[in-house]
Assembly symmetry: C2
Homo-oligomer: 218 residues x 2
DNA sequence: GTCTATACTTGGATAGAC
DNA sequence: GTCTATCCAAGTATAGAC
């Protein structure tokens, strides 16, 4: 369990959450894996400890409760996704580029089960107000990020009159989330993928009626 | 618990599921209520029995297992929604009428918690293959229904070239599902509603570029 | 068809040894 | 910081009286 190369979490000048290391990280990873394979209902302290090969009591020592641990899982996922995509997302200047990026992200999400885990936490959060608020707070940055991108992307476009960027952003996130969830129910049909292809085709139309701007301009 | 006016389920000439009555119905309603307020993870035999004021053992006598009972809840919901909306849905001939109907259905779903319950079952089904297949089978009719409507609605429209009706139908159902789920996470923001308003505005555009046809024509 | 009682398993959480 | 041992609440499911 112990990893000798891991010093205790070093002091950090940055505000906000720090990526956990050592044992805490191992526990979070085990929880992620369990949440993914067993769901929210099956993510018990014992199941997580079994999956990670460590003692059940460690969860309560390091996180206080199973719930806190599961929220730490969401934090880890959020940080990793942000780190992996924020730059590419910022750099995408056309709808077509964004559609291509969405395909890449979706492939990752499928492989890592990120949205599956998020979905389990959303399901848990709907019937548990406090948990729900925490989960919502962890989704919010993604909606905001999409909203800002839409605002810049549609500046000067006739499409801008259609809807508030915030509503569009919420809709896109909800669509992505819903399609991933429903897509997992039966393996064979692979329908989220056909939606991404549709997005690619639509992006061409959107770019066609939207004025281009110099790359990187905000 | 017993309801003297309920004869044992009468023989039926119809194929397919029959709406349960008497004790079975009471148990299903209690399970629906519990699933809604406690979620999939909290919908135990004991919790359901407590909510309905009957004995826990009855669940196993009538349904064999908690899982079967929860599937019966989905069946009941599906039947009720179908009965309530199938006629109005069939009769809607324009995108605008469909958008208005969607608003009505959404108001009902919110009040009854239907999508909340569905979401909990989807979350359960993602990590349980057998359950997932059963849940998927109960969502399928709704996708098909939307698909057929789209096919007829877009006949002769330039929009028909954009995407396969099946993909659009899956996308609309996924969007509706995802927006409802995420919308429940934090009470205040009420964002699914703004999406429905967006749908209303879009429906006007869609109808404008789509040839009208005589009412009721398929 | 319904209830009581019970067997057995699993869960969250903690105390205290190491 | 980690492990063993344990308490106690809650879970599924069944047997058998009524």
């Amino acid at each position: 369990m112990r990893n000798p190369s891991d010093a205790p979490t070093p002091p950090s000048d940055e505000l906000g959450p720090v990526e956990p290391t050592g044992t805490k990280l191992q526990i979070i990873e085990a929880a992620l894996s369990t949440l993914r394979s067993e769901g929210y209902a099956g993510a018990s302290a014992r199941a997580i400890a079994r999956s990670g090969g460590f003692n059940q009591a460690l969860i309560f020592y390091h996180f206080g409760s199973v719930r806190n641990l599961l929220l730490a899982v969401l934090d880890l996922i959020s940080q990793r996704r942000m780190q992996a995509y924020a730059a590419a997302f910022e750099g995408a200047d056309t709808a077509a580029e964004l559609a291509a990026l969405a395909q890449r992200i979706h492939a990752d999400d499928l492989r890592q089960g990120y949205i599956t885990v998020l979905g389990e936490m959303v399901a848990g959060g709907i019937t548990d107000g406090e948990l729900g608020a925490e989960v919502a707070a962890r989704i919010e940055p993604w909606i905001t990020m999409v909203e800002h991108k839409i605002t810049r992307l549609l500046r000067g476009s006739p499409l801008a009159a259609l809807a508030a960027p915030r509503d569009l952003a919420f809709g896109l996130v909800a669509l992505y989330f819903g399609a991933d969830m429903l897509g997992h129910l039966q393996r064979d049909q692979a329908r989220p993928e056909s939606l991404l292809q549709l997005a690619t085709r639509l992006s061409v139309l959107i770019d066609a009626i939207t004025p281009a701007r110099p790359r990187g301009q905000t």
